[in-house]
């Protein structure tokens, strides 16, 4: 069972393509063309003769055929289109059309028939009722995301169409690199288990991010998640449902669906987050930093308050502020201004020069008690955000320990952030977010240690 016909197709047919960009088919067709996909693209529409430069075919049967077909036509025509795809040898379907299992008995029946056709022709299907798929590495944007994501290691599975794709758009703005984006729709054929397996084996996927409302095949999903060693970060919604009705047993009233999901995710090594921001903050860190050997961290900042906020947050997440060795303290004394104190968290007492940051960061990295570093820079009009960023990047190159940065402040900070982004450093505008991201690295390492034993 390979989903490569869906995610790495050599050719794509868009059934329901249109010149009208306001129609799903029209929008998706336009996005595929604009995105720069290099495979063959065939618009299928029985009313139109040409869309842009491409010749339109009334049916996929009239076309040369495609490995993947996107179906965005009214529900009553979908079965016929799927049948034709099967006859033509198409292997993957992405059915955008809604009005199937999500609407009621008649829709469920229609969905069953659709699945019957998929099985008959040995095809695989995403959806129905999906907003599409994207693969940044082959420049395939078969979704309504407005811009092609930058290729990167984060793959994103979303159960919500609109929210999921709005998020994907947002990650593009945030500069996160994405690999595969898939809006799962009704999961009538391909479900979370299949996607985890596929992404687990996909060499370009480094981190899997998920937006989940409900899981099918829960136990198989857990087993699969445990076998996938890549970090999986998820937000699962629907916390507020209170399950307890009759109080027959304590367990009955305490074991709500949400507590059970938390337990299950923990067992599967899935990092469950409370907010969307946390999911992508964690995904960013997990995609470009090594895992720490322990939970002992050193913090450096040019402003005392920020380092205290960071160390408070560390305590909250069970991250230990490392005791520095004698050697490190000696080095810090030499690197810091005389009125600065060589303890962890390190406060440079306002100095943010290249030399101060370089020597301080290096001293901390060399300390055997330190397994991770949080580097904070607080920007004011009196200093330059770039040199400390350059120092951080320079030193990081020499050490395999993870570093998380927090460049914070107003106008001018972004110049330093640009340096960090270029070097693929996970940077956050607030200390708490930086600490939470580090906590995710530690959590994932704990999971790997646990399953190895």
């Amino acid at each position: 069972m390979s989903l490569s016909s869906i995610f790495e197709p050599r050719s794509v047919a868009v059934i329901g393509a249109s010149v009208n960009g306001k129609k799903w088919g029209g929008r998706i067709f336009k996005n595929i063309i604009d995105g720069g996909y290099r495979g063959e693209v065939y618009p299928i529409n029985h009313r139109e003769k040409k869309i842009g430069e491409k010749l339109c075919y009334p049916s996929i049967l009239d076309s040369p055929g495609a490995e993947l077909a996107i179906i965005a036509i009214p529900a009553e025509s979908v079965l016929k289109a799927a049948e034709e795809c099967g006859q033509k040898g198409t292997k993957g379907l992405v059915v955008v059309t809604a009005g199937f299992g999500e609407v009621g008995a008649a829709g469920k029946e229609l969905e069953k028939e659709l699945v019957g056709i998929i099985e008959k022709y040995d095809m695989r299907m995403i959806g129905p009722n999906t907003l599409g798929i994207a693969n940044a590495h082959i420049k395939l944007n078969a979704t309504i995301i407005s811009q092609m994501p930058r290729p990167g290691p984060i793959s994103f599975i979303t159960q919500s169409g609109t929210l999921g794709l709005a998020l994907a758009d947002w990650t593009v703005d945030m500069g996160l690199g994405l690999r595969i984006v898939v809006s799962t729709g009704n999961k009538a054929d391909v479900d979370d288990v299949d996607l985890l397996e596929y992404l687990g084996g996909d060499p370009e996927t480094g981190v899997i991010a998920m937006y989940v409302e409900g899981i099918n095949r829960g136990k198989k999903f857990l087993e699969t998640a445990q076998k996938v060693k890549k970090p999986i970060v998820a937000i699962k919604t629907g916390r507020s449902t209170r399950g307890a009705k009759a109080v027959f047993s304590h367990t009955g009233s305490l074991a709500g669906s949400d507590q059970i999901y938390t337990a299950a995710f923990k067992q599967g090594g899935i990092l469950r987050m409370d907010t969307i921001e946390e999911v992508f903050d964690a995904a960013l860190a997990l995609s470009c930093q090594p895992l720490p050997k322990s939970n002992r961290v050193a913090i450096i900042s040019n402003g005392g308050a920020a380092s205290i906020i960071a160390s408070d947050a560390c305590e909250k997440y069970g991250i230990e502020i490392a005791d520095l060795s004698e050697e490190t303290i000696r080095r810090l004394k030499a690197a810091l201004p005389p009125y600065a104190s060589p303890v962890n968290p390190v406060d440079t007492a306002g100095s943010s020069s290249y030399e101060t940051y370089k020597e301080t960061i290096e001293a901390l990295f060399l300390d055997p008690n330190v397994d991770a570093l949080i580097v904070i820079y607080v920007h004011t009009i009196m200093s330059d955000a770039v040199p400390p960023a350059q120092a951080a990047m320079e030193v990081k190159r020499k050490f395999p320990k993870p570093m998380i940065t927090c460049w914070m402040g107003g106008a001018g900070t972004e110049r330093g952030v640009a340096v960090l982004k270029e070097g693929c450093m996970p940077n956050y505008p607030l200390p708490e977010r930086a600490v939470k991201a580090l906590a995710s690295l530690i959590q994932h390492r704990d999971f790997l240690t646990r399953v190895k034993k």
Binding site: G214, K219, T251
Partner: protein
Amino acid sequence: MILTEHETKEILARYGIPVTKGALAANPRQAVDQARVIGFPLVMKISSREISHKSDIGGVLLNIKSEKEVVEAYTTLLENARRHAPSAKIEGVLVQQMVPSGLEVIIGAKKDPQFDHALMFGLGGIFVEICGDVSFRVAPITQKEALEMIAEIKGYQVLKGIRGKKPYDIDAISDILIKVSEMVEKENILELDINPLIVYGQGAIAADARAMKK
């Protein structure tokens, strides 16, 4: 279908979970016969599918030390049941071994639409009833996961022994969690409470249990 304490314990025993010795008596004479087999002291409880919270209605009598007390207790229990739950169908009275006190914990299970069965562990009494200090896992669990879920509760130090008190048998709890994990899948249990499981420095025994199955 609601199972009585007696029926629930029979299933637990089949899976190797230690339960207090007990038998159902349909009349005072049978109760005395059972008392002779089990030995004193005893606990006697009203047995009815429709009475879930026995202590609330005077349906539990402790520390029964003689055959005379057995007969008196039998009558009292039936009277209390008739007064507080007149329409309940009474099966009889459960005559049960009374075990020494130890640390009370709760082990539970619940059927879940996504993950088949969830397991629950916590310290008993107010810790579960008022504080909700419990941990969950989904079945099946390994020994490692059992030990992890035990260690996860806020009151874990109580199990390890505090203020000079000796530690309780955590391995016994872990063993029972694993057996419950196996049992709920095979027996199609919808809900289960073993409450309390009484834990000692060595060993543990289920003093009361309730369950619902398909």
